[in-house]
């Protein structure tokens, strides 16, 4: 890249409108060319100084005098009431509010329709005879698992009852019967 091309790209460079590739080429040239680098620096400083000048505000009295001329019975400089703010909001965002309102209406309408729709009938149409047969078998399997667990539980409970009411007393009786033999023998 030469100095002429680099200088021609200067404004786009400072505006951020160069492609990544071109920007890289310019910065590459600036690192090697002192003249262009100095020029760019001065130019950039000038732009910064211009951009830093004060944004002038319009005095309220100017607007008040306009209101007087066109006979609006109000002072622009007075504080906005809540009503003014609401009006302003509605005016500024009327388009967005309109779109949001339309979207909400459509949503509610469609939601009402789908919730009213007979799901069972709709769902019935989804299932084939095979699905129903398979589901029947699955229900039976579920009941079988239920049976398995409850049976196992009954087993454990019965075992415990047996242990408590038969085995333990029997053990105790045998011990009592054998005690004299053990002590005496």
């Amino acid at each position: 890249m030469d100095c002429t091309i680099c200088n021609n790209l200067m404004d786009d460079y400072f505006d951020g409108h160069l492609s990544h590739k071109k920007r890289k080429q310019v910065t590459g040239h600036l690192t090697t060319c002192q003249g262009c680098s100095e020029f760019f620096r001065k130019y950039e400083n000038m732009l910064k100084s211009i951009r830093n000048v004060e944004i002038k505000k319009c005095p309220d009295e100017v607007v008040d005098s306009v209101f007087d001329i066109i006979n609006i019975d109000d002072k622009f400089s007075r504080r906005k009431s809540v009503f003014d703010r609401i009006n302003e909001f509605l005016f500024l965002y009327s388009r967005q509010l309109g779109i949001a309102g339309a979207a909400v209406t459509v949503f509610l309408f469609v939601f009402l329709i789908t919730s009213q729709f007979d799901k069972t009938t709709h769902v019935q149409q989804q299932y084939t005879t095979q699905d129903v047969e398979q589901a029947t078998d699955q229900v039976k399997l579920a009941l079988a698992y239920f049976n398995q667990v409850t049976s196992r539980t009954e087993e454990i409970i019965e075992k415990e009852i047996l242990h408590q009411q038969v085995v333990r007393p029997m053990k105790s009786s045998i011990r009592t019967a054998l005690k004299p033999l053990i002590n005496g023998g």
Binding site: K42, Y43, M46, K48, R51, C58, V62, D74, D84, E88
Partner: protein, 178 residues
């Protein structure tokens, strides 16, 4: 509703109008007059100004009034020649925009130098430079306001920057460039 709409436009754009007029004319009083005229025009044309393009419309009217103002001033300068009793022509001193000798000295200050440099730009270029560099408006907005293609906006802007650079170059290294 018309009043509400009008007040909203004023809230949104009065500073934009005033700032444009101020940097174009370099005079507070003139900027106030121009702003007033723009706002009165807005009231009378409120129903015909579409909301989407209100900003561009206002900037365009401001630009036109600024140019009219500048033309009027040049004409006044040209015609401000009086003839005295001896038949000699002499230049009438026009009322300046509130500047006094003290302020003349202050003109050497950085911001005033920049304002002077901007003020001396040709009208078309001046408008673009103020809108872009001071008001930070987008190219689309400037193009819509000045009714020209975006490329033309860029051409005027880049030309304006170069002219400003030439004007302000002597002050590089001083407080002008901070």
């Amino acid at each position: 509703m018309k009043k509400t709409k009008y007040k909203i436009y004023i809230s949104q754009y009065k500073d934009l109008i005033f700032c444009q007029a101020y940097y174009f004319t370099k005079c507070t009083e003139d900027a106030q007059d121009i702003t007033q005229d723009v706002l009165i025009k807005l009231w009378h044309n409120l129903d015909s100004v579409p909301r989407k393009s209100a900003k561009a419309w206002l900037l365009r009217v401001t630009k036109n009034l600024c140019i009219d103002h500048s033309r009027r001033k040049r004409e006044l300068v040209a015609s401000a020649v009086a003839v005295n009793s001896d038949g000699d022509e002499f230049q009438l001193e026009l009322e300046d925009c509130g500047l006094n000798p003290e302020q003349e000295t202050i003109n050497l200050d950085s911001k005033e130098r920049i304002m002077d440099a901007i003020h001396q730009l040709p009208d078309k270029i001046k408008n673009v430079v103020i809108m872009r560099e001071i008001q930070d408006l987008k190219y689309d907005d400037i193009a819509a306001a000045l009714e020209m293609p975006i490329n033309s906006v860029k051409v005027y802007l880049f030309r304006g920057r170069k002219l400003l650079f030439e004007q302000l170059k002597p002050f590089y290294g001083t407080s002008v460039f901070e």
